[in-house]
């Protein structure tokens, strides 16, 4: 009997958590127009979230492109299909790796800093002070960061894919000596702008919204202690990564289920 009661209490707690997070996200969305009116705040956040993530995104994209091209080359040589190397690298980057890996890096680089920042603001009672001055911290602090994340993420993912393809080109054409005509030609022949590139952008936008919302929620709901902030930062990375991977499967199934 006690076990059943315990289970019920736990389930209710989990449900309450979901509901709370959903209400929080709705509240964020409601505050978006107010934040757009104060655009300089949003610009500052795009700088903090987007510009400062650029180095890690570009470096990782380049590395992924290099490695993908090399591994695909070794895998394709036995079949004499090396001319489709560019196509394979392009499709895997644009459809999956670009949005997903960029989102995972984004959660690690930008999500954690958002959580820690908001968490410390809360611990220092800055958010409470704002409320005392009749300034809604959700409109002043959270919403600009939310927009910044949602805008930056698709751009970062596009840059990740771009630099990855350029990296693959360097390895395939420069290092291995494949024919550049086939490398680009097969891509232009087989990669569809709307279906592949467009869906990749939609994915990265969804991931941007998820990662930023999770980071802000964890920061805003943190316990106002050093341990609380540390714990919230860790949870930001874990929860956003799992959400991104889960959501990626759902989106892939929805977008690419028809041949």
């Amino acid at each position: 009997m006690r076990a059943i009661t315990h289970l019920g209490a736990r389930s209710l707690e989990v449900l309450r958590g979901f509901g709370h997070a959903a209400m929080f996200t709705l509240d964020l969305l409601r505050n978006v127009p107010a934040a757009l009116r104060r655009f300089s705040l949003v610009v500052a956040q795009i700088y903090a979230i987007g510009n400062l993530s650029l180095v890690i995104i570009l470096a990782s994209g380049l590395a992924v492109g290099f490695v993908l091209a090399l591994q695909m080359y070794y895998a394709l040589v036995p079949y004499g299909a090396t001319e489709s190397l560019g196509l394979i690298v392009n499709l895997s980057l644009v459809r999956e790796l670009g949005p997903v890996v960029a989102a995972l890096l984004f959660a690690g680089r930008a999500g954690t800093s958002l959580t820690a920042e908001i968490g410390l603001m809360k611990a220092g009672e800055q958010l409470a002070a704002m409320e005392m001055m009749a300034v809604d911290p959700r409109a002043r602090v959270l919403a600009p960061r939310f927009i910044g994340g949602a805008v930056s993420m698709p751009l970062l993912a596009a840059l990740f894919s771009t630099i990855g393809i350029l990296g693959a080109w360097v390895v395939a054409v420069g290092l291995i000596g494949l024919d550049p005509g086939n490398f680009w030609g097969l891509m232009q022949d087989r990669v569809d702008v709307w279906r592949d590139v467009g869906n990749g952008i939609v994915k990265s936008f969804v991931f941007g919204v998820i990662c930023t919302a999770v980071a802000l929620y964890q920061g805003y709901e943190t316990q106002a202690t050093p341990e609380g902030v540390a714990y919230a930062t860790t949870r930001t990375v874990v929860i956003s990564s799992l959400c991104v991977l889960g959501m990626d499967f759902v989106l892939t199934a929805l977008m690419f289920s028809t041949p």
Binding site: I46, L54, A158, L159, S161, I165, W184, M187, Q188, V197
Partner: protein
């Protein structure tokens, strides 16, 4: 950093991101290679379309001139009806024939157009009359095996 400086950097970031998107669409996808507006639609009937898929290229002399848009089965004749759009700039004679070909031994299938000699060109909505179905590898192999077996059977009978 000053506010102006940050705004400039954000502007650069957004421009860089958009440049990436343009690169992905133009250089690494099919936006530039084939426009939708300036094309005309013709169809062809095949007894067997093999593994032809929508969006497969239509080629003439190996040069891509269009794209397969739709594949359906005609309920009356049980033939596959392949609808394709062809670049408006490319005019083909009316007695052009269509074949389903394979790029490489196991590669993707595409429609090959072989121009005839008619004076009049194909226009939108025309149906290509002379067609040659896809070569189905399994049929080819079984034909070969059967003929081999038949040869051996003849040899044993003598």
């Amino acid at each position: 950093m000053s506010k102006k400086g940050i705004e400039t950097l954000v502007g650069l970031f957004v421009l860089l991101g958009l440049a990436g998107l343009v690169f992905l669409s133009l250089k690494a996808a099919n936006l530039a290679s084939f426009g939708r507006g300036d094309s005309y639609v013709v169809s062809a009937r095949f007894d067997n379309i093999g593994g032809l898929k929508p969006r497969a290229p239509v080629r003439s002399a190996g040069v891509a001139v269009g794209r397969v848009t739709k594949i359906a089965l005609d309920g009356a004749t049980y033939q596959g009806v392949v609808t394709m759009e062809i670049d408006r700039a490319m005019q083909f004679p009316r007695d052009t024939s269509a074949k389903i070909l394979t790029s490489g031994l196991l590669g993707d299938q595409y429609v090959g157009l072989e121009p005839g000699a008619d004076e009049k060109p194909l226009v939108a909505g025309d149906v290509i009359k002379m067609t040659q179905s896809a070569v189905v590898l399994e049929n080819l192999i079984s034909q070969f095996l059967f003929s081999k077996a038949a040869e051996q059977g003849d040899g044993a009978a003598k």
